[in-house]
């Protein structure tokens, strides 16, 4: 840890803040010395940004959850009292989080156990025990970090095992994780693709993330809103605006690429019409009695006229 090359500014800020942060983190309880604590801070700080100003670093350190950081690092160092505190505080929460992710008891236990193994550091590297808790930097809450680690583990595992799952099973329980099926390229004209890519590239990262989450992942507005920490109506308005402007901008891009207005509209309309046809066809399949009754009505009308 001390191998990190720390800038003098970082060193100065850490030295200045250690007493304060150490009191906040209640290091004595979990047997964390001032020396190792400042080393941890230096490491975390250098990971954040090497070029940050002293003021930024101060803000950064003060926003850290140093108490949880100290706890996690003490656990990683093998302190027993720290582990006791950790287990009383997080054992139940960790299992509940696993259950929410896996949605099934045995899978949740399996997931939680795997994480515990990682946290204890059973997987040895060069004969040295490395706990996953050593990678916690206190940027978010420890509980949130544990959830994120669980989710990463689950997603990785799912992606690993997905190839072994039969198609049937996938359609039953893995629908939402299934990669969106590749759609055949509709447009042969690369100009349309280029124009679209250009428009998308000019979107803000947030807009693009919203589009991807909504159209690719099929998330609900509420889910996206929670992911981004904004109100649901904000996402709704954003999507509405995007859907309207995207078309306009692509058309403009196509015009710049030398496509006439009519051609450009056609290039886009092809897809839209496809979609509409699909809907109509699927509706017709779903409700054959409709057409039947229509026919009978028509027949009756004809009878009446006759």
């Amino acid at each position: 840890m001390s191998s990190h090359i720390s800038s003098p500014a970082l060193q100065a800020v850490v030295d200045e803040l250690v007493p304060e942060l150490r009191a906040k983190a209640s290091c004595e309880q979990i047997g964390l010395s001032a020396q190792s604590f400042s080393e941890i801070l230096l490491e975390v700080g250098s990971k954040y940004s090497a070029s940050a100003s002293a003021g930024e670093l101060r803000t950064f350190f003060l926003s850290l959850r140093v108490d949880e950081l100290a706890l996690a690092r003490a656990c990683a160092a093998g302190n027993n009292s720290a582990w006791e505190i950790f287990l009383t505080r997080f054992r139940e929460k960790l299992y509940l989080a696993a259950l929410r992710i896996a949605r099934e008891d045995s899978a949740a236990r399996d997931l939680a156990d795997t994480l515990y193994a990682d946290l204890y550091g059973i997987s040895t590297r060069d004969g040295q025990r490395v706990s996953k808790l050593a990678s916690y930097t206190g940027r978010g809450s420890l509980e949130g970090w544990l959830r994120t680690v669980l989710a990463q583990e689950y997603v990785n595992r799912y992606r690993r095992t997905k190839r072994l799952v039969s198609l049937e099973e996938e359609s039953e329980e893995g629908l939402q994780f299934a990669a969106p099926e590749a759609q055949p390229s509709v447009s042969a004209d690369t100009r349309v693709e280029q124009a679209t890519d250009e428009v998308l590239a000019h979107l803000s990262p947030e807009d693009r993330a919203v589009l991807a989450a909504y159209y690719l992942d099929g998330r609900t507005l509420a889910e996206i809103a929670r992911m981004l920490g904004v109100h649901e109506s904000t996402i709704s308005r954003k999507l509405d605006k995007l859907a309207k402007s995207l078309r306009k901008q692509i058309l403009a891009g196509l015009a710049r690429r030398g496509m006439s207005r009519r051609q450009a509209e056609e290039a886009i309309e092809v897809d839209v019409r496809d979609l509409k046809v699909d809907i109509r066809r699927s509706l017709a399949q779903d409700s054959p009695p409709d057409s039947f009754s229509k026919k009978t009505v028509e027949a009756r009308v004809r009878e009446g006229e006759g």
């Binding site: 509980e143 970090w145 990669a179 693009r208 998330r219």
Partner: protein, 447 residues
């Protein structure tokens, strides 16, 4: 819902295969908890827009918040929901309407009462000997002129000398009959609540009269249609007929009319709808009676007996109002407690005296903190365990010292609660709570 060109979807998907290293779990957590700085946040968002995996991880870290949000709607149910409110509005409307009708009825009734308030109690005494329980209301009294004569035939000429009073008394006597045969419904017109109580009084003093004078009539009246069977007189027939009439039409009127002649000195309140502060509905009447009554002590006492005053404590002084709080008089507890017989009023004039004058004697009185009244039964408490009780609306006061075998009430009395005349509760500044269940004769300290 928000339709985008299909090409956009395609291109999004094409781009959605980020091979760049994923953000650290720490950073993702901080992102989910909205604790990243703007530049970092944008970087994460950029990655998210190309990385389905990280979007998925992020979505998985959220369900715990979902649980927190799911809790939110629960408190909403705790408040008053619209369906409840709707009924509250409906019932409020009904109450408002009935109060309006009640007030209107009261006005109409007032005019009648003014005309009929004349019969002195002596007349009632005489009336008890009258065996003419003819039933009628104002209208039927006018229409059926012949019936009184039929009734009179059974009574001495005394009644003929005072025909108006007799008629009224007759009505009074009819009340139980009407009441009996028409137990259902008549009150729906909204006679005053006090009527029920006074009706009972009417019943109590009437029944002996009936037993003396018309035992047969009673038997006849129980089945109102079976008239003239036994050796009953014509009068009885008339009675039952008119009883039926009343029953169908103006039962309420007769009931109210009956109340006017009751020997109870408590008059029904003149102006309904006025909300009195200290359960003193009759106080409105007193407002008329009191100014005159205060001229002499004897009449004041009479007024006090008629009226339930309103009590309050104003800057340590115990005050009484006979007109529902329009004017206030200081009440000197010590004076009446000492002398017992005389009652002193701090203010001689009540009508002109909107200004409050302190009487010298008041300064000697304890500083009051709380007062509780149930009709004429008044309790007042103040500093240094001063507790005074009056059972005659403040005319005479007795100092009470709550004590049990082991302890005596100490400290300042802060609150007094007497939900009824028997049960009371006192709390003091020393944290003691005393209670009585026999109108202050014995006290119990609560631990």
């Amino acid at each position: 819902m928000f339709e985008i060109p299909k090409i956009v979807r395609q291109r999004l998907q094409q781009a959605d295969n980020a091979s760049v290293p994923h953000p650290d779990a720490n950073v993702l957590t901080a992102f989910a908890e909205s604790s990243l700085l703007p530049p970092e946040r944008t970087a994460v968002l950029d990655h998210l827009s190309y990385c389905a995996e990280c979007r998925e991880v992020l979505a998985f870290t959220l369900p715990a918040m979902e649980a927190g949000q799911a809790v939110l709607p629960v408190p909403r149910r705790r408040g008053v929901s619209w369906p409840t409110l709707r009924w509250a509005f409906v019932s409020a409307g009904i109450v408002a309407l009935s109060v309006f009708g009640f007030v209107e009825y009261g006005h109409r009734d007032d005019s009648l009462k003014v005309a009929k308030n004349s019969p002195p109690p002596a007349a009632i005494q005489r009336g008890q000997s009258v065996a003419a329980p003819a039933v009628r209301d104002e209208r039927s009294a006018n229409e059926e002129q012949s019936q009184p004569t039929a009734a009179v035939s059974a009574t001495p000429e005394k009644d003929r000398r005072e025909p108006p009073q007799r008629t009224e008394l007759a009505k009074d006597f009819s009340a139980p009959a009407v009441h009996g045969s028409l137990a259902h419904g008549p009150l729906a017109h909204g006679p005053r609540q006090s009527n029920q109580f006074q009706q009972q009084n009417a019943n109590t003093f009437q029944i002996p009269a009936r037993v003396q004078n018309a035992p047969e009539a009673k038997q006849e009246l129980r089945p109102p249609t079976a008239t003239g069977g036994s050796g009953a007189s014509e009068m009885v027939e008339v009675q039952s007929q008119s009883a039926q009439l009343d029953g169908q039409s103006q039962a309420t009127d007769s009931v109210v009319a009956a109340n006017k002649a009751t020997p109870q000195p408590l008059l029904p309140s003149a102006s309904d709808g006025e909300v009195s502060r200290a359960k003193s509905a009759p106080a409105a009447v007193a407002a008329k009676a009191a100014p005159a009554g205060l001229e002499t002590q004897g009449r004041t006492l009479q007024a006090l007996r008629l009226v339930t005053p309103t009590w309050t404590v104003n800057s340590g002084r115990l005050q009484r109002s006979l007109d529902q709080g329009q004017t206030w008089q200081d009440v000197n507890v010590m004076a009446s407690a000492d002398s017992g017989a005389s009652m002193e009023l701090a203010i001689a004039t009540s009508k002109a005296g909107k200004t409050r004058k302190d009487k010298k004697a008041v300064s000697a009185a304890p500083v009051f903190r709380a007062v509780a009244a149930n009709g004429p039964d008044v309790w007042a408490g103040g500093t240094a365990a001063a507790l005074y009780h009056s059972s005659d609306a403040g005319a005479h006061w007795v100092q009470v010292t709550p004590a049990s075998q082991s302890a005596t009430l100490s400290g300042d009395i802060l609150t007094l609660e007497f939900p009824d005349t028997q049960y009371g509760r006192i709390s003091t500044s020393t944290g003691e709570v005393w209670s009585t269940s026999d109108n202050g004769h014995s006290w119990k300290k609560q631990q």
